[in-house]
Symmetry: C2
């Protein structure tokens, strides 16, 4: 499918992509570029890329697919370094969780004839780093493309095919819409998880290890999400700050409403809300976006 794929940043997502490309034999050559020497050595040792170096220009040279999979705050640095390696045959994509700001940032810095087609695979675990990746991470997961206006139709189709070949279902939408929807389905849930774990930590200092001990009552599920990559999530919230901020306000208003219902012992209202939220779980399992094993199969 490609002559040379260059993955910039072999973390959980980047290394999973490398593995999937190898497994499906989608490139004659896969290379990666990482800032740290240890990571460049590790990906060679893991045999998930053919070559890896911190010399990003050398790695990007001649690649017909370049995938940026670094935290969002590194994009500017990456683009300034690789822009001279891009030519009319290059497809440039990424895997970032926020699109609108980086779309503009990258567009401003690359030649006109480049197909810049941001991707967002809705997939991941709470783990980080090249050893945490696995080739079937993208199977049965959605991947959203938000192509730049100047991206060539044939390149959009090829990149769509690429994601489908590694198991994803692909949707194409505007960056603005992407950032709004994802703030609800992903960014706010992560922020809330961080916040609840942080709130419990402030209390834990008083109550020693009681929080850890009795965490199976619900808190432990939040701690899993709140164990996700700190730099990656810091960047996501800042890049999507308007949506994040608006959603926080809606969330707080609803929470105050629930608080009032509890204080007033309004059984009817509480039950009605909790019945409604129960239903969406069934829809999600029916849509194949989760398994129906109770307790995530931990039983």
């Amino acid at each position: 499918m490609f002559r040379k794929v260059c993955i910039v940043g072999c973390g959980l997502i980047g290394s999973s992509l490398a593995r999937a490309i190898k497994k499906k034999n989608l490139a004659k050559k896969i290379v990666s570029s990482n800032r740290s020497k240890a990571t460049n050595e590790k990906v060679i040792e893991l045999k998930i890329v053919d070559e890896s170096s911190s010399d990003i220009k050398k790695m990007a040279e001649g690649a017909d697919l370049i995938i940026i999979s670094t935290p969002l705050s590194s994009y500017k640095d990456v683009i300034l370094k690789i822009k001279d390696c891009l030519n009319s045959e290059t497809i440039l994509t990424d895997v970032g969780s926020v699109k609108e700001k980086i779309m503009n940032l990258v567009e401003k810095n690359i030649p006109e004839n480049i197909s810049w087609i941001p991707s967002h695979p809705i997939a991941g675990t709470e783990e980080s780093g090249p050893e945490a990746g696995f080739s079937n991470l993208f199977e049965n997961r959605w991947c959203i493309l938000t192509p730049n206006k100047k991206a060539k139709e044939k390149d959009i189709n090829l990149l769509k095919k690429f994601w489908e070949t590694i198991g994803s279902k692909v949707d194409i939408m505007e960056a603005k819409q992407h950032d709004y929807i994802l703030s609800i389905t992903s960014h706010i849930p992560h922020l809330i998880a961080y916040n609840i774990v942080n709130t419990s930590l402030n209390i834990q200092e008083e109550k020693e290890s009681a929080i850890v001990k009795y965490s199976a009552g619900g808190l432990r599920d939040f701690t899993r999400i709140a164990a996700s990559n700190p730099v990656m999530w810091r960047d996501i919230f800042i890049q999507n700050k308007n949506n994040t901020s608006n959603m926080i306000d809606k969330f707080i208003n609803n929470l105050k409403d629930l608080k009032k219902a509890i204080e007033n012992e309004d059984e009817e209202k509480l039950e009605k809300i909790f019945e409604k939220t129960k239903k969406i779980r069934k829809d999600i399992v029916a849509a194949g976006q989760d398994i129906e094993k109770p307790n995530f199969g931990r039983k």
Copy 2:
């Protein structure tokens, strides 16, 4: 261990107890009482109890262990019906998630010589009903006892042994302390999960099924918790309303703090908080309160 165990309310927890008692052979006879005819028939069909009837007095008569496992709002009704069946040889317990209020309610309505020893197994799944139970639900989970002052020492020891035999680790504490700790480790996480799913539902009406489609980005984990039994949770929040209300305030204050850091693009502060929350996950896995499989082993 017991002559006759009576389980009042064979839902997820009650039916799991019945199964565990049968499996470990801890009673000569197990009976249950449920309000609905269908449930009384179902538990007989599932062969998890020897007898079951809505006639709660008949079921409780002669039992040396009575376990109330109904929603908290049914306790008063249950106690008024069974109080005449209690005698000095009865151990009365429950499995409810809030203790202080029901401790007093029950104490006021039972004879002096009864060992009233509330239990709270920190275990469960998002499913409800007698078919959802399983015998090893309590294995390696904590169970907190908050014995009434008049409970006999030998009965406390026997009940402790009972929980240990079905796999639990037992802690004894004051009801007040229990309600405070559990509001952090269990009640608030559930309330937050309900609130985030409810917030996303209000938006979903605008955006059709996009929320379900892209839920794998984080939201789906909350929907699992928010699929828990609505009546049970409504009762928990109302019974523990002071702690719940205080914790909501703390939660909202912290969330506003995070919001401000995001709006100010305060990278350092955000990263510091997210690094801190990452650490507690390791403590929870190390304490055996969760598995370390990434993504709950869904990968």
